[in-house]
Amino acid sequence: MEYPNLLKEIIGGEKIAVIESSQPFKDELYLTVENGEFVRLCHLLHKRLNSAVKMFFAEDLRAKLDKYVLYCVFLNEQKRSWIVVQQDIHKDNPVFATLAKDIHSASLFEREIKEMFGIDPQGNPDGRRLKLHDEVWPRGFFPLRKDFSLPPEGSLAGLQYKFKRVEGEGIFEVPVGPVHAGIIGPGHFRFSVAGEPIINLEIRLGWAHKGVEKILEGKTVHEATKVFECISGDTAFGYSLAFCLSIEKAFGVSVPLRAQLLRVIFLELERMYNHANDIGGIALDVGFSFPAQFASLIKEAILQLNEKLCGSRYLKGINVVGGIQKDVDSVKQQLIQQALLKIKSDFISLEEMLFSSVSFMDRVDSTGILRTKTARDLGITGVAVRASGIGLDMRKNLHSIYDSLSFKVIKEQSGDVAARLKVRCNEVKESISIISQCLEKIHTCPSEFRQDAQEKEGFGIGCVEAWRGSVRVWSRINTKGKIERCKIVDPSFLNWEGLSFAVLGNIIPDFPLCNKSFDLSYSGNDL
């Protein structure tokens, strides 16, 4: 066993009593500690692994064990594995000491635990609720507790959300949303400005909250896969894949090579159409409409290709636990190949149009800078973190089929809109190369594309580097083969905060540009 050494290596020298440790999978290490040691161990991991808090969530086990359990997940980049720190919370005293004072990326997770489970992170300076808005949901009703019941009619406390106020001469507030001018999800943005530059931006989300994690409880794996496809419509494939990966771990299914390769193809197609959409969106937000429309043609071409391949423009209904629903035959493979050629040449034209336009580059250059340090502290993922000089990419950071494919992790240093634009452009090129490699490999690979799964009790983490960033799912299946608890972390969850830092000092007219360069999900964040 490798993990005792690993443990020594990480904890090395510090006296931390680990009550229990286990390594159910090659890339997941679970450590249970006493309540007093939880904060110390988390700090240690945070520092030594240089990892933000990747997931932090609770589970209600009061029915059987009289306790809640908290799980705090870190990424060990070197060993390409997850480290999960566990802590028991007694049901009669639902409090824990906050991590957020020293680990910023834990703060939002703690607020979520507080509103959903009623477990209080003592010492967390921000107690405001994220998703259950004070205006419509009374206090004291915690949806993710197992014994939750709906609040009675008329039990509202009539509370109001408190925004951060910036005060002083000449400072005024600009509230925007939740209904926006464009065709876009709901979010409320409150800008504090002095003249033109933004001094503070507070983003209030949760408008699209629909209780996904509660809905998933008690569902079969098959039903849940469908829900996952509707968590964030533009990442339908990424989400269903992350969920399937987590269940496949729990069930101990090994997915046939062919299915793994086809999953890569679909995941990269999803990345391509969304990146094309974003590049077009950035052009549109500066009023440069020809390339914007041109990009929408590329997006439409990929969506139509998707429909031909699997009958769904948004790649729904493909993933099942153990593989994929339908094979992609040689005729369809050829379709992909032809489409790729066309997309590639169109894409080069698109880039040419954008990067050779001085007035366009002037708008995106040095706009909305997210500094490397900020990106790391906030736990940003995906395109935004890579554009700020950190090469975090779950396709490389974890063991997967991607190990057998050659591709580069695209990085930029400047952290501005231009950097995020360049990362997207270059990632599309990498995606095209990845798909070509997969198509070559598929020729020589056995025709089996689905492995039957035996339902059993278990749990596991599934993680996918989707186009927006890493989608993380932890799920536990009970003895009946139904979902007991499922925690979903959308890449947007922590990235939204990145946006509120990136816009500081920029002018409000540049906000749409910054926003589009991050292109975050409302639905995925609000769940």
């Binding site: 949806p143 876009i184 699209a208 809905i215 929408s296 034209s349």
Partner: protein, 174 residues
């Protein structure tokens, strides 16, 4: 730069024309439907139909398809349909999503801000009965109890062609 734009606009031509020569091609029936739609809008709405879209917690796929209606391939604007930024300019309110509790007030306010005559159309499974999110503690199962809905556009998400076809149905039945 302008040279590459010129080159590409000549090379691409009009993608909206339902020719099978240009890929990605527009499905042939959209053009026909659209022309009929145009005539109907001309007679019933005085040249143009303005739509305001509100997302009440949808996953974003419906939005993506509604946006796709305006891309050069479907180009819904040539039939006289426009998506507007303010409810004050709108004839139709297009609602997506399972109506999250948080969005209820904002949705009602948007509806109230619209001038008469006004119509509400729902898009996607969630908006009509809650879809996959039916029975959740935080959604209303369907919009019908909240606002008067005149038409539902089915699909998860409905493709741009289906959206255009249903908009025609809506005007026809008016």
């Amino acid at each position: 730069m302008s040279l590459s734009i010129l080159k590409n606009s000549i090379k691409k031509g009009r993608v909206t024309i339902p020719l099978s020569l240009s890929e990605p091609a527009c499905p042939p029936d959209v053009e026909k439907m659209g022309q009929e739609l145009k005539k109907l809008i001309h007679t019933k709405f005085g040249r143009s139909l303005h739509i305001r879209e509100v997302d009440t917690g949808s996953c974003g796929a419906c939005e993506s398809e509604i946006i796709a209606c305006s891309n050069p391939i479907y180009d819904i604007q040539r039939f006289g349909i426009d998506f507007v930024a303010s409810p004050r300019h709108a004839d139709v309110l297009l609602v997506t999503g399972p109506v999250s509790k948080n969005m209820e007030l904002a949705l009602k306010k948007t509806y109230e801000a619209m001038p008469e005559p006004k119509f509400v159309i729902t898009v996607g499974e969630c908006a009509t009965n809650g879809g996959l999110f039916r029975g959740s503690y935080y959604t209303h199962s369907g919009l019908k109890k909240i606002l008067p809905v005149v038409l539902h556009i089915p699909g998860c998400p409905p493709s741009p062609a289906i959206i255009i076809i249903h908009l025609k149905l809506f005007i026809q039945n008016l």
